[in-house]
Subunit: 193 residues, 4 copies
Amino acid sequence: MKIAENKQIKRENLLTSAYNLFIRKGVHATSIDEITDNAGVAKGTFYLYFEDKWDIFEKTIIERSHLLFEEALIYVNNQNIKGFKDRIINMIDYIIESFKDNNELLKFIGKNLSLGMYNKVIIDEYEQYSDIKETLEKEFKEYNKKEKNAEIKLFMIIELTSSTIYNSILNDFPLSINDYKKILFEQIKNIIK
Amino acid sequence: MKIAENKQIKRENLLTSAYNLFIRKGVHATSIDEITDNAGVAKGTFYLYFEDKWDIFEKTIIERSHLLFEEALIYVNNQNIKGFKDRIINMIDYIIESFKDNNELLKFIGKNLSLGMYNKVIIDEYEQYSDIKETLEKEFKEYNKKEKNAEIKLFMIIELTSSTIYNSILNDFPLSINDYKKILFEQIKNIIK
Amino acid sequence: MKIAENKQIKRENLLTSAYNLFIRKGVHATSIDEITDNAGVAKGTFYLYFEDKWDIFEKTIIERSHLLFEEALIYVNNQNIKGFKDRIINMIDYIIESFKDNNELLKFIGKNLSLGMYNKVIIDEYEQYSDIKETLEKEFKEYNKKEKNAEIKLFMIIELTSSTIYNSILNDFPLSINDYKKILFEQIKNIIK
Amino acid sequence: MKIAENKQIKRENLLTSAYNLFIRKGVHATSIDEITDNAGVAKGTFYLYFEDKWDIFEKTIIERSHLLFEEALIYVNNQNIKGFKDRIINMIDYIIESFKDNNELLKFIGKNLSLGMYNKVIIDEYEQYSDIKETLEKEFKEYNKKEKNAEIKLFMIIELTSSTIYNSILNDFPLSINDYKKILFEQIKNIIK
DNA sequence: GATGAATGAGTCTTCATTCAT
DNA sequence: GATGAATGAAGACTCATTCAT
């Protein structure tokens, strides 16, 4: 399967190249020329795999954020953390710590993941998230049999977290992340009840 | 003061023209040519008033969102709503209702107000918000003398609200806005205590 | 002869596919990709049968116009029309009626068959026409023993007809085709003498 | 009026540059880059004056062919040639002689002036021809009071001439132009009656 | 013979910005 | 202050053609 393998490699190279340029220079300032140069393929090859810059951008962002969620889930599983509350808190903690170590990724997502795009990533087309989402919702419902709004509350938790930690980590506003974490976790528990 | 007036009018025309084009076609797809054409001024005139497209974009978004906050504040004052909790809830309700009537504005802000930009608007430079922010924080502290985290909780409330209503209003996700409002307000009260 | 047959089919498919695309989108806007896609063969296969787009275009136009001439000749033979004048008039009539029923073909030829190309089709290389041409010239000479300029007059008749009916059929200019036909036929008789 | 003049000059330069390249290399093989380079203006300037290559091509062809018609009319006027028949014959003779001296122009028009385009030039939009056309039609009618089809016959004369001389001049087919002229003129007189 | 992934030169087109008037 | 013609760098995208499989 030489060819199929080769195609996969090309696609990966383009994706990686694009990601690196996006976080270094921003999406707007990155040209397709640069992406292909960096990936070591011809310009035309780009169009064999992606529609245009916004297409590869979307795929890049999905790939990277999905990876992060997955790692977080694996982490709480490996740590053998039990109890829904603790699992959620620890997942979020894992993500926050990852962002602390990788400001570039946070900036990339924060700068580019507009609400409109976010929406698209979470809701529509992308099945990749469904496993994680469903897993969490199931756990939520098991944890609190009477909870009718598991999905909604999960949504609120994710939104609250993602929209606030950006400022906290990058600007220590309104608090440094370590201090903010305490308050955030308290509120999350509050939402779960 | 004919000249100064005239200048002000030109500036306003450009701002309005830009806003209309931005919501209709998106920032990316709008050119300075179109902005000046629509404003009825020469292309070169643009550069007498603004640095570049991103400059006028920023000013546009700030102007529009500031306007909204101000209206909300005026509304609760005029309605003579007392009590901090009710004032906050009613302000947010006012804003949500405005967005329901003006999806275009919501989309515009949602599509363009990335976290990075938001951050800039809220934290940095723009004094325009400080009055409102300070007013609210003062009220918060008066309401709950022991509350040490008024600023932080306000921040959380704003972030939670703005990041969730986008999907609710435009996509009925995870709930229609009317249903979601109940849950949101409950949580806001929860945050305030 | 499986293979040879298969090859012939591929060639025909490409020719048909090209013709359909050419009349639908124009030569310029049709790519080889589309031609092969539509023909159900791989892109590389195209180059096994044709030089490039202009090669297949030429073949397409020749095939289609030759077909038309041939049909016209068969028609006058089947109708058992005697007398040179009547045979010519009826052939031209047949062709005009065909174009009336198939504006697409007329447009295709009209839009693409520049004088330079026409010239090439008629004079140079393409033997396919010679039978028809020779048949007609022979008939002409038999009809009018003294006529020295059979070839030239035939040429004039064809040119006059083809260059005027385009406008008449497609734009009713300077007359609708039905009205124009009378005048045209009169002139043709005039030319024949 | 420095600016307006300058603009006119730029436009003319582009038109001339385009024409020269078109006759030298063909329309297809000429790029806008080359046109602007040759005209001594920046690439963007092209788009200030023309839509795209086909726009300037059309204008080029119209300009050149109009010029020719005009010259022919001036010629017969200056020569003080009387009588409609003679005026027409002499105009056509003038045009044929011009083409003999300028094969490039003939090739350019012949290669590019497809029937579809020709149609557009003659019928639609271009008023420039109307003066000439009207002048000739009036003369025709005056010459032959009973002639009802002046317009149509003029049309036939022009079409017959233009479609046949191409081959005659460039390929001596079916006759050299000097020999062909006699037959052509005879037929034209025939059409006029 | 057939395939279709890869190529990269070639071209169009846009648009922010400048500057002479 | 205002204008808008001119610029040309920058970038997107196409597509005929090749060639390893």
